[in-house]
Subunit: 262 residues, 3 copies
């Protein structure tokens, strides 16, 4: 049993700095969710400063949602700096499989730096792992195989914790595989929930060195927030507003009553 | 009479992918409105991938709100790819007339690629068409001539559908000119409604090949959403939140009761 | 006694154009807050157009939150254009002290152009002024000395109005030092309030040539908005939504009852 609340408490007490090199679509929401969970966000991507910023952080998020070649070069500089200080690196493989560039750049990132946690939907992770998939834009349309099997085998091969998000989220370090059953369908109606999940995983990994456990706990808390926020939501507008309120106030009782990690 | 609801239903059923090369100010809202209307958004601007992404999409939005020379070069690559597959291209001429660069880059885009629908406020479209105008930032201050005349004559000349937004929106393909009387003044108090309108037009054009009809239907649905969202709004904060809720739930009865296309 | 409301009224009547070269995290909120206060926002950063855009504006905001070398070069072009027309320039020194690049680029900006108002938290302004500080990401962790002393001495040295934000905001032109006691702690839980404050200061400076007075009035109105918005807020989600509603409707009575400038 994972004590997700105690990890959340550590974040709130330690306020870890989470450095992001992320996309321009959801950059605000990634910063806001980081702040709301109790950590400190910083976004910086100039090659001249990312190394120094990463070294002073407690986790690093790399999100290729609006990548360019130069941006990926900055990611490598930041990733190497994080690796050298053993700061956890989370890669959000947004849109891998939709274009050749995304697939090859994401694979290159995983070769050039040590990615501690790699996250995506089934299509994105499948494409990264070389499984037959269809990704349209940033949506997973189809993937050959079960997410838990893809995650476990890709984790074994890469020595990264692999996170596949979906109705059920799967987290595997190659030995253990967690299934997180929390969440609500309205989360899929709000752009940015996927990216925000990576920020939350990074905040959990900043204070909990068992990264599979950290990722599973993060996704459970994130999903529980969605479940509670959905209660009185009339659509994506009210849902998103409530999401930040609920996450800000998320307490031990709510987590322990609702957590569903298998 | 345009059956706007049946086009909206097609979007919700087909979930077309709408590729955007857009500005950094409202990029999130463009993605969110695309998702809320039932389509799938993707934002990608690297020259290495925009062609492939555009070819796998059902519509392309080019928005020059925070243009650079390199960004416009990517737009041309994406636009040519869309043209080659006959995917509709929507150009949002943000700030044309405010600087020489915007005017010349927008004109260059219309020469280099086939723009199926070009959209702007009266000042922006006027400046693009060579009419005497004043544009301050992204605001239309004054324009010589009537929007319906400018739209019709510019449409005839360019063979694009021309959309001029304002209190009354005008849509012309050079033969027919629609006037859309839906909307609410609070829409002008929220940054991004103009950009979001382009995304919604693109989603409609993705499933309805009569682009003038698609644009008029899109603007009517968008304006109706604003009218309903304004009812209980206390300012731009509550209005914007309600806007996404209302659009998400927009139904046949609401559209048919309120639609005002002339 | 500063008549903040009469300055706000001027903004609402004159609708000054506020040109921003700002970061990608809070760019939307900076535009929205500018619009909400009654001014017109424009964001443009291409070196080919920033000079022309700045010359047609009534104030210029430079925010280095996600700086690159090229972006700072555009800032210099815009700043020189603004200087040549005596348009007020506001520099938001985001993250100065966190990396060497930010500190050196911000100092370079202050040498190359006339910055009329420079703003940051205690750590950022301290680092800029050469005082011993600790900045983590964009958070001020510690600073040696009192904000009011740092502000006054840095203002004297640079001939800029210096704004140090915090629980109490400090504004000094080297002769007079204002302390603004308005605000609410929830403002610190929402990403972007710092950046938005710079936009509001710029709008006030666009219509009030006593920049210290303008900045103090702006921060008072901004803080009062936060106080009122916090009343029924359940967290950062509802707070932020209410913030825009309250600012949009802010009236003379609310300001005069709550203003606390010392």
């Amino acid at each position: 049993m994972i004590d997700a609340y105690s990890i959340l408490e550590k974040i709130r007490a330690q306020k870890p700095l989470i450095h992001h090199l992320t996309n321009w679509v959801t950059i605000y929401d990634c910063a806001q969710v980081t702040r709301t969970i109790g950590a400190l966000p910083v976004m910086a991507h100039a090659p001249e400063e990312v190394g120094q910023m990463a070294r002073s952080s407690s986790a690093l998020v790399l999100n290729i949602g609006t990548l360019t070649r130069e941006f990926v070069d900055s990611m490598i500089v930041a990733g190497e700096a994080a690796n050298s200080k053993r700061i956890p690196v989370v890669l959000d493989a947004v849109g891998v499989g939709a274009t050749d560039m995304r697939t090859s750049e994401a694979r290159m990132l995983m070769r050039e730096i040590k990615v501690d946690i790699v996250k995506g939907n089934a299509g994105e992770i499948g494409a990264l792992a070389g499984v037959e998939t269809e990704v349209r834009g940033v949506e997973s349309i189809s993937v050959k195989g079960k997410p838990e099997d893809i995650a476990a085998s890709f984790a074994k091969r890469t020595k990264s914790v692999v996170v596949i998000t979906g109705k059920t989220d799967v987290v595997s370090d190659g030995k253990r595989t967690y299934k997180v059953h929390n969440g609500h369908e309205l989360m899929g109606k709000v752009v940015g929930t996927g990216c925000m999940a990576a920020s939350v995983i990074a905040a959990f990994a900043a204070v909990e060195k068992d990264y599979a456990k950290a990722a599973a706990a993060a996704l459970a808390c994130f999903g529980i927030t969605g479940e509670i926020a959905a209660k009185d939501a009339k659509g994506p507008g009210t849902f998103k507003e409530a999401f930040f309120d609920v996450l800000y106030n998320l307490d031990e009782k709510q987590i322990n009553e609702k957590i569903k990690i298998e």
